[in-house]
């Protein structure tokens, strides 16, 4: 009950922050040098036509009025305004591209959690052995190498040399399959496992490139959390009490080590979508990050506000989830309500 109340308060508070954020970006957009409306049109378009589009997009109205219309559109119709870049509703664009990226991030998140915990545990259990050293060297490189460098490396290795994976793009989705927008999920929902295989095949390198940094960092955190706990008194006690090794590792070590792991993990997951953009560009995976990049680079006003808002929402949602997760893992920690 208390958790619910705190969560609710946090959500409300987050909404306010997002509202402030959108207003901030919105005000900035207005002072963008260059007229995005004109440059989005073909050559020699007369001023009246441009004026028409401007008024359609409420650019001719004062900022607060425009902002009010925008918020009203979102609340009443889920309408984020029209993108000058794609000439479609931003909401529609987001609905089209976001599920694809979320799927990419989901696989990446799972991979990070699994591999991070696995490697971290191995590293901690076999502390200072050769395997620990190998893993630690990997984590070092993983953390300091930019994701695009991994992507290029994997492309060279797996696509050019070994020809194991396609270098980019995703399989064509038959129109009747499209339900959620997430490629793999749609293939599964349609019961087309061959296509799902193809989707996974084309997603493998993007997921891997996106995850490596996270895996490395996660491994580090998990390792140090476990090492700290191994030295803790209660483990020594358990050992003396004759608790078996396997049980010791999994029951007494893993669980407490999950708390720092989980908190860091949350931040990692929240940042996945932001990190995905060069990966999506390099692998030609037309998702939300690539869309964000395009609207930002093309100074598409409603596009920019829309995507930043989505980034903010996702960040907030993940944070709330993490807090709830932590409080489930460790009842002693309440929800990080304020600050």
């Amino acid at each position: 009950m208390k958790i619910l109340k705190k969560t609710l308060r946090r959500v409300l508070h987050t909404l306010l922050v997002l509202l402030a954020l959108s207003f901030l970006i919105f005000s900035f957009i207005r002072i963008i040098p260059g007229d995005p409306v004109r440059s989005s049109m073909g050559p020699m378009v007369p001023e009246e036509t441009i004026q028409k589009i401007r008024s359609e997009l409420n650019f001719d109205k004062p900022l607060p009025v425009q902002y009010f219309y925008w918020i009203k559109g979102i609340v009443t119709a889920g309408d984020f305004g029209m993108s000058l870049f794609t000439h479609r509703s931003v909401g529609e664009d987001i609905a089209r591209y976001l599920p694809r990226s979320l799927e990419l991030c989901l696989y990446s998140a799972l991979l990070i959690l699994m591999m991070g915990v696995l490697l971290g545990t191995i590293s901690a259990v076999f502390k200072n052995s050769w395997i620990d050293n190998v893993i630690r060297v990997f984590t070092y490189f993983g953390v300091v190498t930019p994701p695009y460098a991994f992507a290029i490396f994997f492309m060279l290795l797996f696509s050019y040399s070994l020809r194991l994976f396609p270098i980019g793009g995703v399989p064509v989705m038959p129109a009747e399959y499209v339900r959620t927008g997430a490629l793999g999920l749609d293939a599964l929902l349609a019961g087309d496992f061959a296509l799902y295989g193809k989707v996974m095949h084309s997603m493998f390198l993007p997921v891997l490139s996106l995850s490596i940094g996270g895996i490395a960092y996660q491994t580090r955190i998990h390792r140090s959390a476990m090492v700290e706990n191994i030295n803790a008194d209660y483990i020594a006690f358990a050992r003396v009490a004759g608790v078996g090794n396997g049980k010791l590792i999994f029951k007494h070590l893993m669980k407490p080590s999950f708390i720092p792991t989980f908190t860091v993990y949350g931040l990692q997951v929240a940042s996945l979508l932001g990190n995905a953009f060069i990966i999506e560009v390099l692998f030609r995976y037309q998702g939300f990050s690539q869309y964000s990049l395009s609207v930002i680079m093309n100074k598409d006003p409603y596009g920019i506000v829309g995507v930043t808002l989505i980034f903010g929402i996702i960040f907030a949602v993940v944070n709330v989830l993490i807090d709830m997760g932590v409080s489930v893992l460790d009842p002693r920690i309440g929800l990080r309500g304020e600050a």
């Binding site: 963008i32 930019p146 060279l156 995507v307």
Partner: protein
Amino acid sequence: MEMQQTLSATTNPRVEAFKKDWYKFSRNPMSLLGLAVVILVIFCAIFADVIAPFPEDAGLAVYMERAFEGPSGQHLAGTDQFGRDVFSRMLIGLRYSLGIGLLVLALSVPFGVILGLLAGYFKGTWLDILIMRFTEIFMSIPPLILAMVVCTIFGNGYLFASIGIAVAWWPWYTRLTYNMVTSLSNELFIVYTELSGVKVMRIILREMLPNITSSVITKMSLDMGSIIITASSMSFVGLGVQPPTPSLGSMVSEGVAYLPEFWWLTIMPALMVVLIVMSFNLLGDGLTDVLAMEEK
């Protein structure tokens, strides 16, 4: 520990503290290696013009007759599509990468720390709420995206790219300072000082700031790497240093078009990024260890 302190009681305590820290730091060979590489990198950046065999290749130089030559004795990292020496361009690019890192830190750290000090000291007041909510707004957008938005709105180029990243970076320093100050505030010596009627500003500057400096410096060292990665990701899409001036990120992204035949165009600058980031991280980790030991 106590032995050491009594032995050195006669000398300057600050020098002594530094000696002690250095001793701890120098015991980890990786930290030393990191420090050495950082010094080397900074040296290379400062004297890039002198070290680079073809410093003019960072400008408007075109030698079509020697385009796409592989690494050799003359061109250590090969030549690019205009026949320019990749190694020279990497060195000059290194200068800009480090420059952006320093500029971002110079912009975001003072701003972030001051806000954090204020919010922390006035915890619970409207100032605290205002600052921390404001901080949160900026924290909720991925730094790269925020920096790109700022850059496209206000303009492109070296300076704007740095400002863009700084806009995304300061909240983390506010958060760090805030957390440290709020925990410090409860410590006895601060309470005493406050009771003895010392001015607020003085407490903040004289008592609190020194106490958080080491953490901030450590974080700066670790952040240097992340900032360089962020900046190179931005120049990957054309935001930042303008061509023909090289930046490591734009060298990588331009080189991608020539993969796999002319691999040195991408691999070499990418390795350079890895090297710099790694050295700053090793240094930062070393500092963290020293700090962690001090706290214990």
